[in-house]
Amino acid sequence: MESRAHRFKQNAVDSLANPVLQASMKKAKGKFVDKRAIAIKEIDDFEATREAAKRIRNQVIENLDLWLEKFEQTATARGAKVLWAKDGAEICRLVVEIGKQHGVKKAVKSKSMLSEEAGLNLALAAAGIQPVETDLGEYILQINDNEPPSHIIAPVVHKSLDEVADLFHKTHHTPRKTDIPQLTREAREVLREHFLTAEMGISGGNFLIAETGSVALVTNEGNGRMVTTLPRVHVVVTGIEKVIPTLEDLATLMRLLPRSATGQSISNYVSVLTGTKAEGESDGPEHLYFILVDNGRAEVVGSEFQDMLRCIRCGACMNHCPVYQTIGGQAYGWVYPGPMGSVLTPLYTGLENALDLPHAATLCNQCGVVCPVKIPLPELLRKLREKQVERHLRPWFERLAFRLWAWVASRPALYGLGTRFAVRYLEWLADGKGSISRLGLAPEWTQGRNFPAPEGKTFRELYAQRGRNG
């Protein structure tokens, strides 16, 4: 997927001006946040579970090569082929090759963020293989001219029912309906045909289990099972950081993932898929491929951003982020939105391509508090800002402003004089009113709010006076 992260600011302004999106986001916020709050109470020791999950993820990431090797061995022993992709282009090349080798004309897909990173659908179509998204949300986006998703687990959270109704009516040439079960049934009927005729299924993977060589899939629609068991060929595309040691570790992580994501104790479907169809078995693919993708991850191992690789893609950080709640996910411009995206996008697509994202946060730390694997997101965002300054990627006036402020603030007499003038100037701007409606020096502030007027003198002036008087 081509990144539009460099246009963050404009994207955000567009989102603020989109009433349908605003209404949808308001609705979604309550749902995610409130449901999670209730669901985590079901776990006696939530904090200890978070700590355990953090440990499991760290254990793997600190020795990623060893765990990947182990996974490759066990998966291969169960009849799978393990392939490695360096970047998005390589994912596309490998999947197309596999498709060609097995004479594939149509591929059904279950949600996979990696395939979004790679822009896989376009590559498949170009190679004469029809890709069909089968996750309801992803399907809606696909028939809407391949619109990008706005959330990692609820890709159409920004859309209204009316928009979906129009889209189905237009695409399926059926009478327009707004009843959700009816719409779902309509999609299911369209998709059933595809499930039965596709030669290849492509899925992501929530976790790879080293002990057994399995992939774990966590979904709420039955589509994941169909994609992975009906077609002859199953291709799993995941990031290399997704591996975990054992099935028991999976159990620990599963106590956190659905609760953090949707506030469910467990999602509707959890599949642990191992190996190809053995003789005598009735379902499962004849050919199973794992494409394990780097796409920027290996470089993060051992760096000061390594904590980010613990991410289990639950989406809690975005659901709780005041900025995400206000502008939605598409404004972030790449596959991953919200606080996690503001860290991942610059890391994976280049610091210089996402200059705004590390700054697009109030550092309120709501994300850090809810993250089930304790990723210190605000700290990572701040570190990215520091990297930008080091590499001279920030605008010169911004760098100068902080230098200048530090220079003045290190000189108390000058600071005292400067603040005295600043306060007088602000008072003059306020013109006897309690607040200023247009601030020349920080015009952004007064776009949507006033700036309160100062009291008239600085504390140091008044304190000095008080000293003289009393």
Binding site: H359, N365, P412, T446, F459, Y463
Partner: protein
């Protein structure tokens, strides 16, 4: 107990009254208050913008100015936390300075936290009458655990009726430089905060961090609300 007041640059510039209220409260709690005259800014804006060199320079200045005192109090959770938690990180490459930062950090407090947990203030001098609602500022709340302290102090004023708002713990959208880098997003978040606060019917929105309060007040006034007061807790507790 001898306490040094860290005034904060925003209080210095915008609301000196809060600084004097803090002095009054500390004195009411039996402390001797000193205001080191050369203090300016804790350096938080520079640090949050990625300018480590500038942040380190100001951190050292603050350490040198304040390390002689038994306790250092700031009428701001975010500045207190910046000194306490971030200085040791900022100065990680300079072990000597880092040790001084850690030593100072353990004696730095946010005002209400200090009044309740250290100085054990009994009687508050204020006399506010009416309904108020309290906004929990992010850093104070999530880093320093400031939640019960301001409420305990407000409960000492018989005329105050505290009505909690929905989402009291949600960010108001200020975020320091965020508020000027992304003015429209920031103001949109502030709008939600104001709506929640106003829905309580409170005559005053009260908080412990001036940055948030300027943001909230600015949004209220832009929304045409001229009557709801926006006050720092120190103002309420002293009737300044």
């Amino acid at each position: 107990m001898k306490v040094a007041l860290f005034v904060t640059c925003l209080v210095d510039l915008m609301r000196p009254r809060i600084g004097f209220a803090a002095i009054e409260l500390l004195e009411a709690a039996g402390c001797e208050v000193v205001v080191p005259p050369s203090q300016t800014c804790c350096g938080q804006p520079a640090w949050n913008s990625g300018d480590r060199a500038a942040a380190a320079k100001l951190a050292k200045k603050v350490i040198a100015e304040f390390e002689a005192y038994e306790a250092i109090v700031a009428p701001s959770g975010s500045c207190a936390d910046h000194i306490r938690s971030e200085y040791p990180v900022i100065l990680a490459d300079e072990p000597e300075w880092q040790a001084r930062a850690v030593a100072l950090g353990s004696r730095v407090y946010e005002l209400t936290d200090f009044l309740v947990n250290v100085a054990k203030l009994e009687n508050v001098p204020g006399s506010f009458t009416g309904r108020i609602t309290y906004h929990d500022s992010c850093t104070g709340l999530r880093s320093l655990g400031i939640k019960a302290q301001p409420r305990a102090l407000l409960a000492k004023l018989p005329g105050v009726e505290l009505q909690e708002m929905n989402g009291a713990e949600e960010c108001c959208g200020f975020g320091g430089t965020f508020s000027v880098k992304f003015g429209e997003i920031s103001a949109a978040i502030a709008e939600r905060k104001c709506a929640n606060a106003c829905a309580t019917g409170a005559a005053a929105i009260v908080g412990g961090d001036l940055g948030c309060l300027l943001n909230i007040e600015g949004k209220l006034r832009r929304m045409g609300d001229e009557s709801t007061q926006v006050l720092h807790i120190a103002e309420v507790l002293t009737a300044k």
